[in-house]
Symmetry: D3
Subunit: 158 residues, 6 copies
């Protein structure tokens, strides 16, 4: 039970991954943004042009995932092999779900990259839609699954 | 009812703020991270050093807020006057609440800066604690209040 | 006839814009990428999915324009008011034309921002299509028009 | 015949290079900037100091090449082994030719790095000379050669 | 006697400059790098090519000054008007002195920009020369003078 | 006796590390900031809150070390394994000493990363304390030790 990025005195440091093996690691994270009715309507209304909302959020999420180690102070730089960001429109619950998958061959995992990709994509949706209504809520950003590394597979709820 | 960062064909563009006035604008956003019991215990246990968890997250949040226009594709660069990030430990609900306040004299508001500050601070807490348990959930990132600009005051739930 | 970013000894410096007035300035730049037949066919073929090629290039161009002062060593940081990037498919000449418009209220112009937006958008199209054929050629990146500032209007060919 | 950075629905993703081998890869790209007579004269006139024009453009090109994966949305981060940028003054045709060579041991090639290095160097020359005349044209940015990887050697015109 | 970037509890925050006036402010900082004999000889030896050592350090220093608010956590973003970096070779004392001057019209000063410009230029000289000898020492980085703002003129030693 | 980042004509290039082996390399650098009496008093006075001064400087130093290859033009990007930054308050000499240790498995060393980590941490202390007195002096930034690579161990003064 320890904070891996803290030393014995509670001071921050990047945990040393020098002795870890380079293995294939993946992470899959999701998150949601709850939309006020007006925004959901605009997104579903075919007469309102909004083609680029999701494209812009996808690009932002992928670039965000690549930029994780510049944004999160103790994160290690990594050469990710791939990153994808996808969206599901859940009309019934008036929300959009964002999914981000990242993989790498490296000494440490890509959980933070996947979570950052999700977060930046959600923030971008907020930015694209905030002219209509500022009442959106970003929620349920979590790690669904990760594989690889010494600790092996993690799957949420298992 | 329009997507301000889209043109008539649904193509992304930065909305033109050239005709807006430079006024003082503020934004206040919050968010939460729900902690599994093990992490909450470690944070409350005085025998476990963790002094820097919140300091690191605070610095990351402030730097994230300053970096918003590089991260969110259609955001305007802004010269923010100040930014602060604070934390509340809510032991009963096993969560940490993050608050971020930003102000600016500019042609457009700082809602995205405040929301980005909150998001990056929350991701950093996740990163600092993920060695203990990966089951944390980031949730309820929202704009509490903004002032200034043509649309005036927005207050959540009012 | 002088290199404004050089001093008397030929040493680089950022030209001092401290005595200039803050005025509204715009710049409009264009550029082209010549496509081998195979790529043009794929872009025109409705059965091949390529929806995001232009969206990704548009986002990259806008983010590139915003990032100009970090990329071009002597460029001044500027708070741009807006930026848009557009594309024309010229089937006859087998090329795509990119247009970028930027405006600002500032002490110096946005020519470099518009040219950088065009260049990054073109490089992104190259990247998106290079799996098909690497023989693309980026060409004719130039300033079409700029307005504002002491030197007034510049229009290419006039 | 596919867009490697698009999925089956035409949505952008970083192509997965996880199964590729780490091999030595090189890329060599070139580009030109056509100079109005006044600028060419100033560059050739020994009485006008301009020592740093090419040094600044060289540094900008090398830093641009290193920064490629932050600028081009679907590009993979890479640990380049080296990068060089050179210039030829072609007085007869009143142009400057820029050459950029990059090499890497990695899972994917450095074509985009070489093309980005050329583009940023050319934009920097434009910036350094634009006080004299804004009529410069950046042209003929292309990949001359690349080696390494599964697809082997590519040489322009062969 | 207070730490302006700390709140009452000692927590970091960006000091609020919202109520300050936009005035012209300048800062001038210097620093030194002490060179082992071997490096000084190489720099003075006309038969050893080293033309770009100072050009590269100058560009790095200027770009570093522009990038200060991304590097120093509590620094405000600023639109600097100009920046210059210069070098003096002091053969007698076997050192190089770096000078950096920055000016801005803004709500806060550019002391950190000038000091950062000096520091990055010095680090770059170290990097360019470290293949010869790693015993260089960077020293005496200090603010010589600043003007503008409520606190007026500061001049070292006066 | 050569400048490794210069070619035969004295032009800057990134030295080619393609033929070097990936080995474990470490670097340890230190530096100091001399504090006027007023600042030293404030730092030692338990009634003045300043908890975050060192935390902020530590985070800045670590992020600076990770960012070295973007800041120093000819530096190679590297995947550092770890980085730590520490402080000693030397009351007698009225100074703070900063230490930075970095390690990597790579083709080139991390001397510049350690020196950059020290420099950015020192600049951040300056920024945090400059409201009290601007007379601080940053001094004695040097490489104490490095290990790994073909040139083996370097230890200052040995």
């Amino acid at each position: 039970m320890e904070f891996t990025h803290l030393d014995k005195q509670g001071k921050a440091k990047m945990v040393d991954v020098g002795d870890k093996n380079i293995t294939t690691r993946t992470a899959f994270a999701t998150g949601k943004i709850i939309l006020p009715v007006k925004i959901m309507k605009a997104i579903l209304d075919n007469s309102v042009p909004k083609g680029d909302v999701f494209s812009v959020a996808r690009v932002a999420g992928i670039m965000g995932a690549k930029n994780t180690s510049s944004m999160i102070p103790m994160c290690h730089p990594l050469l990710i092999n791939s990153c994808s960001v996808d969206f599901n429109i859940d009309e019934k619950n008036s929300l959009i779900k964002v999914k981000c998958t990242v993989n790498v061959d490296g000494k440490t995992g890509v959980e933070m990259e996947a979570l950052t990709g999700v977060s930046v994509a959600l923030l971008t949706i907020y930015d694209m839609c905030k002219g209509i209504d500022k009442g959106m809520v970003i929620t349920d950003i979590l790690l669904e699954k990760k594989t690889g590394g010494k600790s092996g597979i993690y799957e949420r709820g298992k």
